[in-house]
Symmetry: C2
Subunit: 251 residues, 2 copies
Amino acid sequence: MLSSGEIKLIRSLKEKKFRDAEGLFVVEGEKMVAEAGKSGFKIEKIFFRDGEDGIGEAAMAKISMLSSPSPALAVVRKPEGLISDKPAELLSDKGLYLALDSIRDPGNLGTIIRICDWFGIEGIIASQDTVDVFNPKVVQSTMGAVFRVPFHYASVPELCMEAVKAGGKVYGTFLDGEDIYGKELSAGTSAPDVVIIGNESDGISQQTAAFVTERLFIPPYPSDRKGSESLNAAVASAVTLAEFRRRGRRR
Amino acid sequence: MLSSGEIKLIRSLKEKKFRDAEGLFVVEGEKMVAEAGKSGFKIEKIFFRDGEDGIGEAAMAKISMLSSPSPALAVVRKPEGLISDKPAELLSDKGLYLALDSIRDPGNLGTIIRICDWFGIEGIIASQDTVDVFNPKVVQSTMGAVFRVPFHYASVPELCMEAVKAGGKVYGTFLDGEDIYGKELSAGTSAPDVVIIGNESDGISQQTAAFVTERLFIPPYPSDRKGSESLNAAVASAVTLAEFRRRGRRR
């Protein structure tokens, strides 16, 4: 039911070079496997632990990447066109997009994708040095959102340039930015608008920052509070996107 | 410079039972060690990798819990009164508090403490089945906020009861709660108000939910959006507290 070749293949998919070579990634858990099935992604194979066609607990433990193996695991084909060299094609004429400038932590990326799903973000565009979206830790922490939010790798500076050319704005959070609650926010209602989230330690890179048209800041409380230096990248994404969407619902 | 007894002690502090027995925990990184030094916490010992009194790279690797050992490590004494059986004593007559109902993931807890630091939360009260705040993963992911935000373990239902007795409100987020953007929010300006964050999978427990006076919901966008089921516990904390503080700055 589970050949040694399959075991070897599935285990190899922990590493990016094998995911790239095979064009495959792994999804675990009954809910996640069901989400994969409902999505447009192509499922290559599904393994169940229990039932008539089940492979059993020992076999599941061999292929699982989780500390407690789940009852279901699917091998899924990566979508075509994941990496784009034409960022303009990733933008519609309207919509709110998130751009990631070098997010390195898999848990952060997964959480950000889940946030974008919740707040109905049109698509995520990540710089090529952002962690692989099909890393098992990323996939699992999206709780299925990886199957719902369009995700591409492309040049973030080029993307910003294209958004501006199309009449959109480019938002970024900076420690010396302007209070988000005092700024007008356009959330893609008349052009493609982009919110950039920077790297966990270094924030938005200088190269990308040059394309930001609106510099934002999430104020601490009280506003002159000293001590804490920043919010985590996923948390900054959540607070920023929640505020864009709060404004949207008032209109 | 670093005895085998010290190595054994420090390595043992990865485990809660030894942290409890010794009353100690470990902090790593120059910035974190400096934060510990500035705080009211008692530093038992500091080890530096480099310099005249440095212990060297090999010795640091032996005691470090990080995959790439940092240049500084401190052994810090846990504060007194971490566990309280009198939750009333944890509340001032005014202030906004966060209560954690069984948060299990160390990264989530660390991120939540960092969020509370940013938004000037008066104190955090966690149920006793919440992960240990001095777990090294929690400590490191707070980025120093663990030294700034008052943190206690106590009964969350009792705490809620005490807040209500003192004239405060108890807020909780639920999938069937009311749109947070349409609700009046009191942020501890006239009494101790409490925001409860529930467990990662199960949300707020039934026992605790009975004490919630205001049921909130962070709406997705668009508001009838289907698919995503919930936000991560730390993300829900961030969006909720940001909204409480946004209202506060308008007054």
